[in-house]
Symmetry: C3
Subunit: 307 residues, 3 copies
C-alpha cells in the first residue's frame, strides 16, 4: 500500500475485493466511498461482520460487508475473505491512508557529521541526529526524535515524536516506534562489591528487524554484549519493558505493561498478555501463550499455555 | 483561585475561614502567613488536624488548625470545615500559588499554519505545534511539548514538559497533563492474517474533558473509531495505560501503573488502585472500587468492591 | 576511572590485576587488549569465570580469566579477585570507556538567568534550562534534557536524552538518569470534597544523592512537603514509579516496573524485584528482599524475605 497518493473518491466493490484477495458477492459495480464499524457505517460505506453479527446485518446501514468465506450472505452485497478483519483493515488503510509529512529536513533539526540520507525522508522540527547516522528511503522522523551516533533506520520506517534511539542501535524497514519510547538504554547490570554495586558497561546494541511495531512508552535496553533483538513482525503495546540480551521471535505479540527480564529467549508467534512478567534467563517456546498478569518463573514449552 | 497574583503577606484567620467556607473558632484577627504540616508548622502558620491528631494539638507549634466540624478545639485557634483536608489544600493553594510563566511565545517554538491562540497563553521553548491547533485563554505549554495537527486545548490547561498530544485530540479546560505522557498514540489493534498481523488504522481520537488531571508517563491510545474518553474530573497517577475506545466516567481515580484494556467502560467515582488491570470489553459500574494489584476479568457492578 | 583519556592499546595482566586489586597468576607480562564474555573472547582478550565455568575453561579462547580468590586455575593465565564480576566490570570500563561529548554548550540550548556552570560541562542540542540552575564540573546533559528553575546537578552526573527534572530538585554527584525519566512530577495527592477532588499543592522536592543510577522511563514524584529522597548508591531499573515523600536507603536496588506508594520508607541494601508493589505509609527494613511481583501490604522487618 502506497501512503503517498490520495485514494480515489470511490471504489467499486469488485476492485476492493481484488485489493484484499477476496470474492465479490452481489453487485460488483456498487460504489463504496468509505469504511466504518458495523453500527456507524452509512449506505456508501463498507463494514465487516463475523459471528453473531452475520445474523443481524439488517441492523446496519452499511452498503456492503466483508464477511468470512462461505458466509453466503443473502440480500446484501459482500466480499468474502479468509480473514475478514485483516481484509477490512486493508480497506481502511486504502480509504484513510496515514498522512505523511512532506519530504525534507526541518530547519530546526540538528544533524551530525557523516549523515547518510536516502530519498523521500521527512525530518521534523527539533529532531537531533548524532554522527554517522543512516536513514533509508521514505523514513519519517517526527518532531523531537533523538537518534544517537551510528544509528541506522531502514526504508519507510516511522518514528513518532519524542522517541529516543541511542547510539549504535539498528532499526529495520517499515518499523513503527510510537511516542515516548526509549531504544538502547543501558541494561540493569551491576556486579556486587561488598554492599555496593559496580555498573557493568553495556557494549551491545538493540536490533529491531523489519515490520516490527513498538507502542508508546516502551523501554528496550541494549545488550551487555551482542544484541537485544526483536525479530521480524514483533508487535508491542504500551509501557512494555524489554531488558538486556532478550531475543523475541518473529510475529510475537507483547501486550501492555509486560516486563521481560534479562537474557530471556522468546520464540515465534508467542502471545504475552497484559501485565505479565518473565524472570531472567528463561526461554518461551514458539506459539506459547502467557495469560494476563501471569508471572513466568520457569521456561515454557512450545505451544504451552500459561496463566 | 487566581494563580496570577501574589498572595498578601498574611491573612486573618477569619478571612481564611471565609475562603474555605468554614467557621472561625478563637481569635478571628490572628495573622496567618503560611501553611505547613502538623509537625513542621511554625507559630504564624496554619496546619490541619483530624482523628488522633486532634488529641495532641499541643505537640504542634502551628498558630491555628483546620479541623472537622464540631471538633470544638479548646485553647487553640481553629477553622472548622466539612472537609479539613480539602480546606487545607485550598489554603495551601492560596499561600503558595503555582508560579506560572509569563504569557508569550518563546522564539524557539515552532508553530504550524492556521494557529488560533487566545489571550494569556504561555508557550515555552522548543514547543512544536502542528497545523490547525487551537489554544484557549491562559493555556500553558511548558518546554518541549508537541501538539499534532488539529489539537485543541481548553482554557487554563497546563501541559508539562515533554508531553506529546497527537493529531486531532481534544483537551478540555483546566486540564493538567504531567511530563512524559503520550495522548493519542495508535491503539494496539491488529487483524491476524495467517501467522502475521495487519495493523488496523486508528481513525479516532482521545477526548479529555474539563478538570481532568493526568500524571507522568501515561499512555492514552486513540480510538479505532470514535473516541477514547476521559470524562470531567478524572485523575490519573503515573505510568497508567489506557487503551483504545476506553471510556472513564466523571471523578474516577486511577492509581499508578494501572492498565485498562481496549473498549472498557468505567463509571463515575470509581477507584482503581495501584497496579490493577482490567481485561478488554468489560464494564465497571459507578462508585465501584478495584483493589491494589487486582486483575479484573469480569464486569463489576456499581458499588462493588473487588480485590 | 577517567573517562576522558583513550585506554592504552594493551595492558599487561599484572597491571590489570593491580587495577582491580586482584592477584596475578601465570604470566604477568601477557598482553591483554580487550575484554569479552566467556564464549566470545579471543586470545588477546580477558574474560571471567565463576562456578561451573571454572571446570570448562578449555572451551573459551580467552587469553586470561578473572576468577574467584583461591580458584588456582591450572594451565591458564588468570587474575584472582574477591568479586570477579565487579573486577571484570572495572576492566570493561577501562577498555571501553563511555565516550563523552566534548565540553561546551550547544547553540540550540536555551538557558535561563542566573546560570552557574562549572568547568567541563557538556550541554547538548535543544536542552532547556530554567532560571537559577547550577551544574557541577563535568556534568553531561544530553540532547533535549529539560531542567526546571533552581535545579542543581552535582559533579560528573550524566543526564540522558529527553529527561525532565522539574523545579527545585537536587541531583548529587556521579548520578546517571536514563532517557524518558521524569523527576519531580507532582505527587498524586487529592483531598475529597463531596464527589470531587481538590488537588493538594506539592511544595516539596526530589533529592537524589551521589552515585544513584536511575533507569529509563521512571517517574519520581516530588514531596507534598519536604523531599522524596533517594539516598547514596540507589539503583533503579526501567519504568519504576516512586510516589511523593518516599525515602529509599543507601545501595537499595529497585528492579523494573516496581511501584512504591506515597510516604513509604525503605531501608539500606534492600532488593525490590520486578513488578513488585508497596502500599502507602509502610516501611521496609534494611537488607530486606521483596520477591518478583510481590504485593507488599504490611511493613517488612530488616532482613526479611517477602514473596
Amino acid at each position: 500500500m502506497k501512503q503517498f497518493t490520495q485514494p480515489p473518491q470511490a471504489w467499486t466493490l469488485a476492485r476492493l475485493a481484488e485489493l484484499v484477495g477476496g470474492e465479490c458477492r452481489g453487485d460488483p459495480g456498487r460504489r463504496i466511498s468509505g469504511a466504518a464499524p458495523f453500527e456507524a457505517a452509512s449506505g456508501d460505506e463498507i463494514s465487516f461482520a463475523v459471528g453473531p453479527f452475520l445474523k443481524r446485518l439488517d441492523t446496519s446501514r452499511a452498503g456492503a460487508f466483508v464477511v468470512p468465506r462461505g458466509a453466503a450472505v443473502a440480500g446484501r452485497d459482500s466480499i468474502e475473505a479468509d480473514s475478514p478483519q485483516a481484509a477490512f483493515a486493508l480497506i481502511l488503510r486504502q480509504f484513510y491512508p496515514r498522512q505523511r509529512p512532506a519530504p525534507g529536513i526541518a530547519p530546526t533539526a540538528v544533524i551530525g557529521s557523516r549523515f547518510q540520507c536516502a530519498d523521500g525522508v521527512s525530518i521534523g522540527p527539533q529532531v537531533v541526529i548524532g554522527d554517522g547516522v543512516t536513514l533509508g528511503p521514505g523514513v519519517i522522523l517526527h518532531p523531537q526524535v533523538v537518534l544517537g551516533d551510528g544509528v541506522t533506520v531502514g526504508a519507510d520506517s516511522e518514528i513518532f515524536p519524542q522517541v529516543t534511539i541511542l547510539a549504535g542501535c539498528r532499526i529495520g524497514a517499515r518499523v513503527r516506534i510510537q511516542s515516548g519510547t526509549v531504544i538502547g538504554s543501558d541494561g540493569f547490570g551491576y556486579a556486587r562489591q561488598g554492599a555496593q554495586y559496580v555498573r557493568i558497561p553495556h557494549r551491545g546494541i538493540v536490533q529491531i528487524d523489519d515490520d516490527v511495531e513498538i507502542g508508546a512508552g516502551n523501554t528496550i535496553d541494549r545488550a551487555t554484549y551482542g544484541r537485544t533483538w526483536l525479530q521480524r513482525g514483533v508487535k508491542t503495546d504500551n509501557l512494555v519493558h524489554v531488558a538486556h540480551n532478550v531475543t523475541v521471535g518473529e510475529d510475537t505479540v507483547i501486550v501492555a505493561q509486560v516486563g521481560i527480564s534479562g537474557s530471556v529467549t522468546i520464540g515465534r508467534q508467542v502471545i504475552l498478555a497484559g501485565q505479565a512478567g518473565v524472570a531472567g534467563h528463561l526461554s518461551i517456546g514458539d506459539q506459547a501463550t502467557v495469560g494476563p498478569r501471569a508471572g513466568v518463573a520457569r521456561s515454557v514449552a512450545a505451544g504451552e499455555v500459561v496463566s
